[in-house]
């Protein structure tokens, strides 16, 4: 019963008609960790989260969430999970305090401790001043803090966050993640979906989803160490021409421009990647600074979502 994993899924699939939104997903989310779902829009992140909290019925496969079977009696699960939707889903025409109060009532939070808990959350999530403000009139960052405060009010064991930071500024995102770490330290398991690389890097573990399929999982370090690619960074005065020289060149799997720099991915079965890049650049008369660098999570993402044809260059 008390497994080390908050979530374990086996072959979890969801099809909408002919569209396979999620295909045979095997997941193991350890308790007390922040687990990330990284993937582009439409990769099945939201669908998976909705299946795990019982909102959608899996087409095939099953999962165990906090000891409860999915599909199964999700009523047992509801009090133990907190869910934050992608879109702001609290009541815009009620104040911050009224929203929190409503959530406390819905979860039958101990009546005597209710006011204290709400005040505690208002303080913790920096909403004390907004207490009487209508939720609909707040900024993106404030709304998001309110949504998180509501999701954790009943002290859930598991938090499911569906792209929680897609509508907020960088400072709010940093603060938000600081809050998540505090919650994880206190023992809450957090499953968070994102398409931001820097957020993915903060997770304890993560799974990369692409078109409904899990293409990689592990800690960020593990993933970075196992791309199967050399990462070559090219700094050129004329990055446009450098990219042209490398784009369809032999043995080069992918070229991505980042400002004046190019990140070039070369499958690791080819030796001497730096020399290879310089040779290609030389052919087009482009001079550049070329060096090998460790993989970033973005490189991992590019590498694992690559089609087999792209890989075999």
């Amino acid at each position: 019963m008390n497994s080390d994993y908050a979530i374990e899924s086996r072959g979890l699939s969801k099809h909408f008609g002919t569209l396979k939104a999620v295909s045979e997903l095997d997941l193991k989310v350890p308790r007390g960790q922040i687990y990330g779902f990284l993937g582009p829009n439409g990769s099945g992140k939201s669908t998976t989260i909705r299946m795990l909290c019982g909102l959608l019925t899996p087409t095939e496969g099953s999962a165990t969430v906090l000891g409860t079977g999915v599909p199964g009696d999700s009523r047992l699960l509801k009090p133990k999970i907190g869910y934050m939707t992608q879109k702001f889903s609290l009541f815009a025409d009620m104040t911050v305090f009224e929203n929190l109060q409503f959530i406390a009532e819905i979860y039958s939070y101990d009546r005597a401790a209710r006011a204290d808990r709400i005040n505690e959350l208002l303080g913790k999530y920096d909403l004390t001043e907004q207490r009487k403000q209508l939720a609909g009139t707040m900024s993106g960052g404030q709304k998001q803090r309110l949504a998180l405060a509501c999701a954790v009010l009943h002290r859930p064991e598991l938090l499911l966050l569906d792209e929680p930071t897609s509508a907020v500024d960088p400072q709010s995102r940093r603060d938000f993640w600081a809050n998540l770490f505090r919650l994880a330290e206190a023992g809450t398991t957090i499953l968070v979906s994102t398409h931001y690389m820097d957020e993915a890097e903060r997770c304890h573990r993560l799974a990369i989803l692409d078109r409904g399929i899990k293409v990689a999982d592990g800690t960020p370090q593990e993933l970075q160490a196992s791309t199967g690619m050399h990462i070559v960074e090219v700094t050129a005065g004329d990055p446009y021409h450098a990219q042209e020289a490398l784009d369809c060149a032999e043995h080069i799997a992918s070229v991505t421009q980042l400002g004046v720099r190019l990140r070039v991915l070369i499958p690791d079965q080819f030796a001497e990647p730096v020399a290879l890049v310089q040779r290609h650049l030389g052919k087009h008369g482009v001079t550049a600074d070329v060096r090998l660098t460790p993989a970033s999570l973005e490189d991992v993402f590019v590498a694992v979502t690559m089609s087999p044809e792209e890989r075999a260059v």
Binding site: R50, R75, F91, F102, S108
Partner: protein, 365 residues
């Protein structure tokens, strides 16, 4: 106990949101009052002053006397004298007059001949109400050949029980109560739930321990109270402005209304489980509202409708409610004397609630 407190939390939230939504709040009072004024003052089935042209081909003393009597009925307003029946046809076709009277050359002789009609009455049959007026004119001392019905005049005295002055509001307002409550109750519930789905609130709510039943009942509860307030409003306006009598017991009326409101809220819930947007919810409400006005006996007498339309009408809650209100308010009938209508409303509510509960699942797929 937890279930009850969750239900009350939903109700409290609903009331709070409602009190901030000024437009909806205004509608609660506005719809009944404005509709009452419109229907009460504008609708009048007792038609007078129809524009009329007369072709007096006889032009005798008797025919002139007949025209004077015609005027006195106040049913017609003679706007023109013309030469020939052809001109009357033309005026009718152009819509300039509603009634044409042709007095033939041999009018004086025809009047005393029981086998021949003395006067031809041409009526604009494109308006059904006007066509019926011809029947009133048949009671005139001379005989008519209307194009509508046989001209056998009879001497039956009609005693309009329960509404001796034949005032239209007395007939209209008990029915109007049903139409107003249908509109507001169904629309408010359907929209209240669909709005939450549109705004994403529902996705949050169904991830909490709230059950479907708690959610539905909690949301509907405030609207029952609103329905009762509207009812009181209609009764007060009906009494003060239109002197609509309240012959039966007010308690009976409220009990009947309770059953009717429940039926409409249940129907609103069904709509909310089908409609994806507030606009769709609105369209579906009007889909039900239109037959509620036309097939319920509110506008047209129920017995006069074809059998098929009557079956459709029987399926509408408002049909049964109108029978109840007219019975209680105008005929001093007791609620128990009208029990078949109550049973019909109960069955409707039960079926609709079951349907809504089956369709409303705490899932998204």
């Amino acid at each position: 106990m937890r279930s009850l407190s969750r239900l009350l939390a939903i109700t409290k939230k609903e009331v709070r949101q409602l009190s901030r939504d000024r437009l909806t709040f205004g509608m609660i009072v506005g719809i009944p009052v404005i509709q009452m004024l419109l229907f009460g003052y504008a609708i009048n089935t007792d038609v007078r002053n129809l524009r009329t042209a007369v072709a007096n081909q006889a032009n005798t003393h008797l025919s002139r006397q007949f025209i004077a009597e015609l005027r006195e009925t106040q049913v017609v307003d003679i706007v023109e004298f013309v030469d020939s029946p052809a001109t009357i046809d033309e005026r009718l076709r152009m819509g300039q007059i509603s009634v044409g009277v042709v007095i033939p050359v041999d009018f004086d002789r025809r009047v005393i001949d029981p086998d021949r009609p003395a006067v031809h009455l041409l009526v604009d049959g494109s308006d059904p109400t006007i066509a019926n007026i011809a029947l009133q004119l048949r009671n005139m001392p001379v005989r008519f050949d209307t194009r509508i019905a046989s001209s056998r005049s009879t001497n039956i005295e009609v005693r309009p029980n329960y509404n001796p002055e034949r005032r239209t509001p007395v007939n209209i307002i008990p029915g109007l109560m049903g139409v107003i409550l249908t509109l507001t109750m169904m629309l408010f519930t359907a929209v209240a739930i669909v709005r939450e789905r549109e705004r994403g609130n529902l996705e949050l709510l169904i991830n909490t321990p709230v059950s479907s039943a708690e959610l539905m009942v909690g949301k509907v509860l405030p609207y029952i109270v609103i329905g009762m307030i509207q009812l009181a409003l209609i009764l007060v306006v009906g009494d003060t402005l239109f002197q609509v009598p309240m012959r039966g017991s007010v308690l009976d009326l409220y009990l009947a209304s309770g059953a009717f409101i429940a039926a409409n809220l249940a129907l609103g819930l069904v709509i909310s489980t089908v409609a994806k947007t507030q606009f769709q919810a609105m369209q579906m409400t009007f889909f039900v509202l239109l037959p509620s006005i036309l097939l319920s006996g509110f506008v047209f007498p129920f017995d006069g409708m074809p059998k098929f339309a009557q079956y459709l009408g029987e399926m509408l809650p408002v049909t049964h409610y109108i029978r109840l209100t007219r019975g209680i308010m105008l005929r001093d009938a007791g609620l128990m004397e009208l029990y078949p209508e109550l049973i019909a409303l109960g069955v409707f509510t039960l079926v609709a609630m079951t349907l809504a509960a089956l369709r409303f699942t705490k899932r998204l797929d």
